[in-house]
């Protein structure tokens, strides 16, 4: 066992432990924090395997954006503040899915990289990665970004529908760069009766509440 293996083992234990705590933690916020630790641990694994660019991408995308977005979302929803606990009811299903995934993925990885010694791996430099993405693989890359963009726009559309009225643009007072009064009294002064006629019958009028 070389020093490289020892470092890898430590990072892997940290990552695995954090992952285990993510799913066993009873508190939603703690679970999200352990998830952030797991993702950071995976960045550490990449670093040990000399994929430095991948490690930094992992940090900025998953720890800096995804995990932060989770926490942000939890704070907006009614997740309990402080030490209260929640519990999910899907243990069996989750165990089956993740177990299958683990077996399939580890089988594939061992089949592909089983003979390669981790200490001998050297990653390509940032120049080679850049040329590969933007010269040889530019079409798949752009297709993927289109896919992400479509998902993004779809998510925005879905979120807006749920809060507005059957997809129709609701009347709201847009507050510009300090031009108009931003007080609640100013928003309520908007006559709700004007908008009622234009909306489909039976829909509650939301204009005054905003």
């Amino acid at each position: 066992m070389t020093g490289h293996d020892a470092v890898f083992l430590l990072v892997a234990l940290f990552t695995g432990g954090a992952a285990l705590l993510t799913v066993t933690s009873k508190n939603l916020f703690h679970a999200a924090l352990f998830l952030a630790a797991t993702l950071a641990g995976i960045a550490g694994v990449f670093l040990v395997l000399r994929a430095d660019f991948l490690a930094l991408v992992q940090l900025v995308v998953y720890v800096g954006a995804v995990a932060v977005l989770f926490l942000f979302g939890l704070m907006v929803t009614r997740a309990p503040i402080g030490r209260e606990a929640l519990d999910g009811q899907n243990r069996g299903l989750a165990l089956a899915v993740s177990g299958t995934l683990f077996v399939v993925l580890s089988g594939l990885i061992i089949q592909s990289f089983g003979g390669v010694r981790a200490a001998e791996v050297t990653g390509p430099g940032i120049r080679e990665i850049g040329i590969a993405i933007f010269a040889h693989w530019v079409l798949p890359f752009e297709l993927l970004s289109m896919l992400l963009l479509a998902a993004l726009i779809g998510a925005i559309l879905l979120a807006r529908r749920e809060s507005g009225e059957s997809g129709e643009e609701s009347v709201e007072r847009r507050i510009d760069f300090g031009d108009e009064p931003s007080t609640e009294a100013g928003a309520q002064a908007l006559p709700a009766a004007d908008t009622a006629g234009e909306l489909p019958a039976g829909e509650p009028v939301a204009g005054g509440e905003r």
Partner: protein
């Protein structure tokens, strides 16, 4: 094991040699860590002292005068006071998350000082991915702020944390886009490489050497505004907003933990200023096209004697302090933005402008 780690460090790092690299591996590591920690604990205090004094003078006060010569040890005295204060944890708070939050916010700042170049050879590491490293690591400290805001079990803290999260996510985009534009023009992500690229960049068609701030004045503006917002400093201090949120996510923090949040802010000021100096203001070059005394490397910036090295460090620190001065000046001069104005400014003004800037610079780079 030492050999192996050393070999790995060589493939991961070391584009150009650091003065702190010695024959002994452990000695090099110790020297580099000491360098980064020393920077982190000393330079922000100087910035903080300057903020005290500059703000006071602009408001016709005298600022700190008693502690040390001209009150220069005021922040050290403050630090000693913070250590002595009682460490209060609210009963409803989530103890571990509450305690860990200031650390999670603080440590990324220390790590960034590893890659910031202060002068010829005066840096701990020159990573091939230096700029990306700095931006990636700095995006982690939001986590600490959200943790603090949530774990305090206080509605003001929660709202402060929420505002901080929204603001930091929004302004990270223009910040990164502006930095990418510099990397495109410099053709490298290494911070030392970007300084070198500025010393050899000529205006197209002439042989006048200029820094990147001239072709990228828009990018510099975007980076500066976004950096101020990332630091949650006035006029972008909605997450703290002492007149409405008590003290935002820091409301429940006392003593040394509060001091850690404070140090994170001052350290962040130095880091952002240092990044601006490296990306836009020519690093340790005194004036565009003027080589340092005793330097004969590329652009008169490398292979210096001790005089050139010292001059380089002095010039970088001087530029950093000048930028900190401007930040303090803006703090005194402008009122706080409203939350919706802040978000609109990031998403509707800064992000499209940064994208446009990136497109223009990329086209110009191919044409010239």
């Amino acid at each position: 094991m030492t050999d192996l780690v050393l070999e790995q460090a060589v493939t991961f790092a070391a584009q150009s040699a650091s003065l702190l690299t010695f024959d002994s591996f452990l000695l090099s590591v110790a020297a580099k860590i000491a360098f980064a920690l020393g920077l982190f604990f000393v330079v922000p205090l100087v910035g903080g002292y300057m903020e005290h004094k500059v703000m006071a003078r602009m408001q016709h006060r005298r600022g700190p005068v008693e502690a040390g010569p001209f009150g220069s040890l005021q922040l050290v005295a403050d630090g000693i006071k913070f250590i002595q204060k009682e460490d209060i944890i609210p009963r409803a708070a989530d103890k571990w998350v509450f305690a860990a939050a200031p650390g999670v916010a603080l440590v990324p700042g220390m790590l960034i000082f590893l890659v910031i170049p202060l002068g010829p050879g005066v840096f701990a590491l020159d990573l091939e991915l230096g700029l990306f490293y700095a931006l990636a690591i700095s995006s982690i400290s939001v986590l600490g702020i959200l943790m603090g805001g949530w774990a305090s079990a206080n509605k003001f803290s929660l709202i402060g944390g929420l505002r901080a999260g929204g603001q930091l996510i929004a302004y990270e985009l223009p910040l990164i886009l502006a930095a990418i534009t510099v990397a495109v023009q410099a053709q490298t992500l290494s911070l030392v490489g970007i300084v070198e690229a500025q010393s050899t960049f000529m205006l197209p068609g002439t042989d006048i050497n200029v820094w990147f701030v001239f072709p990228q004045i828009i990018g510099f503006g975007i980076f500066f505004i976004a950096a101020m917002a990332e630091l949650s400093r006035p006029p972008f201090d909605m997450p703290i907003a002492d007149s409405e949120l008590v003290f935002g996510y820091m409301t429940e923090y006392t003593g040394i933990k509060f001091a850690m949040f404070l140090l994170t802010e001052y350290g962040g000021m130095i880091i952002m200023s240092a990044l601006m100096v490296v990306l836009y203001l020519g690093g340790w070059q005194l004036l565009p096209g003027v080589p340092l005394p005793g330097c004969d490397g590329a652009g008169g910036l490398f292979d210096c004697g001790w005089l050139g090295t010292l001059a380089g460090v002095g010039i970088t620190l001087g530029k950093i302090m000048a930028l900190v001065f401007v930040m303090v000046w803006l703090r005194v001069a402008y009122p706080r933005l409203r939350e919706d104005q802040l978000q609109r400014m990031a998403w509707i003004v800064l992000v499209p402008l940064a994208l446009l800037n990136l497109a223009v610079v990329t086209v110009a780079k191919v044409v010239f």
